[in-house]
């Protein structure tokens, strides 16, 4: 949608490598992500797409190569890491809401602790965000009292509360019951149109096709295709991508 208009790079990876023992999860992955862009990262299980996403805020440390987030090199320097994590939000497959805190406290915790926001300001902001994801009335409940779809929407509000420059989604709908997938996708769609930079690892091909500006296809630790959704879904260039697409279409 706005790929051409905005070209300020926000995340750059150069020849990023990662091994888990003998398993080579990422092989020299280079890619640049631009501000305002919505990128869908797709590929078969074990292709390295989640690992790649998790290296971007160092939930997994990469073994080789370079990752630069908003001009800051991601390395063992804890100060850099803290700065980057403040700017990069993440939404997990299994929500990972803090189970001992109310919905409201889940959303206010990081702004209060990390951004040193006053309680009242953090709460009014949290209520505004909960309103945005349609869960204002649930603020005083605990995560366990909410459905999976509701929990994931809270997780999105929690990530947004830090005003991140980039939002990473790690298979946000994979742990949901089918009837709850759409409510989460609707929130993500609204976010995508609001102009926030998003990297979404997903199996939802319709979401990738409709909402993403760009599709990256991962296979065996490398990026095989990096193109527009139109090109990727209409005529994928690689046999592996064709096989993958026929699988998810008929599977």
């Amino acid at each position: 949608m706005n790929t051409e208009a905005v070209l300020r790079p926000i995340i750059e990876t150069r020849r990023v490598g990662k091994r888990f023992g003998a398993f080579h999860a990422l092989k020299d992955v280079s890619a640049t992500f631009y501000e305002g862009q919505v990128t869908a990262i797709v590929g078969p299980s074990g292709s390295g797409k989640s690992t790649f996403l998790r290296t971007l805020n160092r939930l997994e440390a990469h073994d080789s190569g370079e990752i630069i987030v908003d001009g800051i090199v991601l390395n063992d320097d804890l100060k850099n890491l803290d700065t980057i994590r403040r700017e990069v939000g993440m939404v997990f497959q299994s929500f990972n809401l803090f189970s001992h805190l109310t919905i409201l406290r889940n959303v206010t915790l990081a702004p209060m602790r990390v951004r040193k926001m006053a309680k009242a300001a953090a709460e009014s902001k949290a209520m505004h965000l909960l309103e945005r994801v349609g869960l204002r009335s649930q603020a005083s409940k605990y995560p366990v009292q909410l459905s999976g779809g509701q929990q994931q929407r809270v997780a999105i509000a929690r990530a947004l509360a830090m005003d991140p420059k980039v939002l990473l989604f790690d298979e946000p709908t994979s742990a949901l019951d089918p009837e709850m997938v759409n409510e989460v996708l609707a929130v993500m769609r609204e976010l995508a149109y609001s102009g926030i930079t998003m990297l979404v690892v997903t199996h939802e091909m319709s979401f990738a096709r409709e909402v993403a500006d760009r599709v990256i296809f991962f296979d065996e630790g490398v990026i095989l295709e990096d193109t527009t959704p139109e090109c990727f879904f209409a005529n994928p260039r690689h046999e592996r991508a064709k096989a993958f697409l026929s699988q998810v279409r008929h599977g």
Partner: protein
């Protein structure tokens, strides 16, 4: 029990007030009891206060030690892990009575001159170290029970390792650890009686003295047992309410 689950805050408050009233008021009804109980009422009350004092000091210090050593056992830094492992191994493998005697008799020899510990302090130190070792294992289990996704979520939000521990891991681990910690505390109320060996005049010692003077062990020991039962009931009510307080947001 239902009421205490529903209003944990009030239950804790009531248990604490009840405990205080009991400790400072028990001499009154006891003093009207026939001999040998009546004349020794003040001694019973003094002994109970010493027992509760030892329990509270060692109980609180023991939780702090348990959290620190429990973290130490999970540390990536192996010397720290080794120290904490050795501590638990040493304390759990030796009798509490020996530990109390050791602190009482050996510490004065190894302490720098000028520092003198009272008998009560020696007992408190030994009991703290003892319950701390048992608490270590409970805390470690509690921390291990916190799903790693909780840590990842906190770190991804930019919380520091310290904030992640204090705001997310510790409160969640306590939900798991608390029943076991409460168990240790209930044992501590009674284990504090071993302090009699180093002439701390706690509740059991009072009982021993009173029966020795009166030659009537049956009423004296029944009274002592009743006081212990009331104390342990107060403590378990307190920890039970605390459990209910921390249990929010849990599947049951």
């Amino acid at each position: 029990m239902n009421w205490s689950r529903k209003y944990p805050g009030w239950t804790m408050f009531a248990a604490m007030i009840g405990l205080l009233l009991f400790l400072w008021g028990m001499a009154l009804p006891l003093s009207v009891a026939p001999a040998p109980i009546g004349p020794a009422a003040e001694q019973f009350a003094d002994g109970a206060r010493i027992t509760v004092g030892l329990t509270l000091i060692a109980g609180i210090a023991g939780v702090v030690i348990g959290v620190l050593a429990g973290l130490g056992k999970l540390s990536r830094f192996w010397p720290l892990r080794w120290i904490c492992d050795s501590y638990v191994w040493l304390i759990r493998g030796t009798p509490l009575l020996l530990q109390i005697l050791f602190v009482w008799l050996a510490f004065p020899l190894i302490m720098p001159a000028g520092i003198e510990l009272s008998d009560f302090a020696c007992a408190a130190i030994a009991l703290s170290l003892n319950i701390g070792a048992y608490n270590t294992e409970c805390v470690r289990a509690g921390i291990l029970a916190v799903p790693y996704g909780q840590v990842e979520a906190a770190r991804a939000l930019g919380l520091t390792p310290w904030q992640t521990f204090m705001d997310v891991v510790l409160p969640q681990s306590m939900r798991v650890a608390l029943p076991a910690l409460a168990n240790n505390l209930a044992s501590l109320v009674k284990d504090s009686s071993l302090a009699y060996a180093i002439s701390v005049v706690e509740l059991t010692m009072v009982g021993y003295r009173v029966q020795a003077e009166s030659y009537q062990p049956i009423p004296v020991f029944i009274t002592i047992a009743a006081i212990y039962l009331i104390l342990t009931t107060a403590f378990t009510t307190l920890t039970g309410a605390l459990e209910a307080q921390l249990d929010v947001g849990q599947k049951r």
